[in-house]
C-alpha cells in the first residue's frame, strides 16, 4: 500500500506527511508537481505549506500544476485523496471538494491547538476513529475561513458532506461557516481539512490523534473499502 505525497513549490509539510503515512503503516513516496505519473500510489496526500507562495489566492496557481490532471483522474477512479491545510485549499480551488477558503475572520495567522468533532465514521478518512472521540491537533493558517453560498451550504449539510467541525473549548479559529474544518466530496473519496493530522501523529508532538486519520486512509486504501454513498 503506497501513499503518494504531492510536493508543490512551497509545500512545507510534505516530509511530515511522508513520516506520518509511514507511521500509519504505508510505504510513502514524494511526487513532484511537474510529473504526471503517480508511480503506483494507491492514495494521495496534498500536504500543507504555501504552494506558489499563496500568490493570487491560496491554491489558485497550484491547481494548474501538471500533476493535478493525474490527481483528478485518480479521484475520478475512486482513489483516495486527502488535502491537508494548503492541500485543502488546492482541492477546493480545483473543484475536487466544495467550498472556498478565505482570509481568517481575525485577519491573523492562526496557529494553535484546536479540537475536532468527527461528524462521520463511515468514511475512508475516519473509519479508525473511536466512537465519540474528539481529536486534538494543531491549525496553522491565514486563509482557513470556509465559505460556501447559503444554498450550497444547505445541500452540503444535507448530504452529510461536513466531516470535521471545530469543537469546544477552543472553538472555531477562523470564522468558518458552521464551524466547518473539513469536508468530503459527493463520491466520498476526496477529503480536505484545515487542521494538521500529520503534526499530531506522535505523542511526543503533543497528540497522536491525527494518526487515526492517516491510519483510516491507509487501511481504507489497502482494503479498497467501498466508499460511502
Amino acid at each position: 500500500m503506497k501513499v503518494g505525497v504531492v510536493v508543490f513549490p512551497g509545500s512545507n509539510c510534505d516530509r511530515d506527511a511522508l513520516h506520518a503515512a509511514r507511521l500509519a503503516g504505508a510505504e510513502a513516496l514524494s511526487l513532484w508537481h511537474e510529473q504526471t505519473d503517480l508511480h503506483g500510489a494507491d492514495a494521495l496526500i496534498l500536504p500543507g505549506g504555501f504552494a506558489y507562495g499563496d500568490y493570487l489566492r491560496a491554491g489558485a496557481l497550484a491547481r494548474f500544476s501538471p500533476i493535478m490532471g493525474a490527481v483528478s483522474d485518480h479521484a475520478a477512479r475512486g482513489g483516495l485523496v486527502l488535502g491537508i491545510c494548503n492541500g485543502f485549499q488546492i482541492l477546493a480551488e480545483a473543484g475536487l471538494v466544495p467550498g472556498a477558503l478565505v482570509r481568517n475572520a481575525s485577519l491573523r495567522f492562526e496557529h494553535r491547538w484546536i479540537r475536532l468533532r468527527v461528524e462521520r465514521r463511515d468514511t475512508p478518512f475516519t473509519s479508525a476513529v473511536p466512537d465519540g472521540m474528539t481529536l486534538r491537533m494543531p491549525v496553522a493558517h491565514g486563509e482557513g475561513c470556509y465559505v460556501l453560498p447559503a444554498a450550497d451550504l444547505r445541500s452540503l449539510e444535507e448530504r452529510r458532506g461536513v466531516l470535521f467541525r471545530y469543537d469546544s473549548p477552543e472553538g472555531n479559529p477562523n470564522g468558518s461557516a458552521h464551524d466547518i474544518a473539513g469536508v468530503i466530496d459527493q463520491a466520498g473519496n476526496v477529503c480536505g481539512l484545515m487542521p494538521h493530522p500529520e503534526r499530531a501523529s506522535e505523542a511526543v508532538l503533543g497528540s497522536d490523534d491525527g494518526l487515526l486519520l492517516l491510519r483510516s486512509l491507509v487501511a481504507s486504501a489497502a482494503a479498497a473499502v467501498a466508499v460511502p454513498a
Partner: protein, 83 residues
C-alpha cells in the same frame, strides 16, 4: 496581431465576509472619519494580450478571469480595455 491592454477587477461577492474591508472600516474613527461605510477590498490585475482584434483579446481575458483570476464561488470580476 496587435497588443491590447486590459484591467480585470476582482471583488468579493456581496455577502462574502471581507475581513480586510471590515478592518479598514474599523480604523476610520481613528482618522476622525465617520461618514464612510461598506468598505470592500478586491484586486486589480492588468495584462497585455496579443490578438488580431480587441474582441479576440477580450475572449482570452474572460477565460483567464473565470478560470484563474477570480474564484466564482466567492468573487465577481469585470474586465475593461485600458491604454
Amino acid at each position: 496581431m496587435a497588443e491590447f491592454r486590459f484591467c480585470v477587477s476582482v471583488m468579493p461577492k456581496p455577502g462574502i465576509l471581507d475581513p480586510q474591508g471590515r478592518a479598514v472600516e474599523g480604523s476610520l474613527p481613528y482618522l476622525g472619519v465617520d461618514s464612510v461605510s461598506s468598505v470592500r477590498i478586491g484586486r486589480r490585475v492588468e495584462l497585455t494580450v496579443e490578438a488580431a482584434t480587441e474582441s479576440g483579446a477580450r475572449t482570452i481575458v474572460e477565460r483567464l478571469a473565470d478560470d484563474l483570476l477570480a474564484n466564482p464561488l466567492i468573487e465577481a470580476w469585470t474586465a475593461e480595455a485600458i491604454v
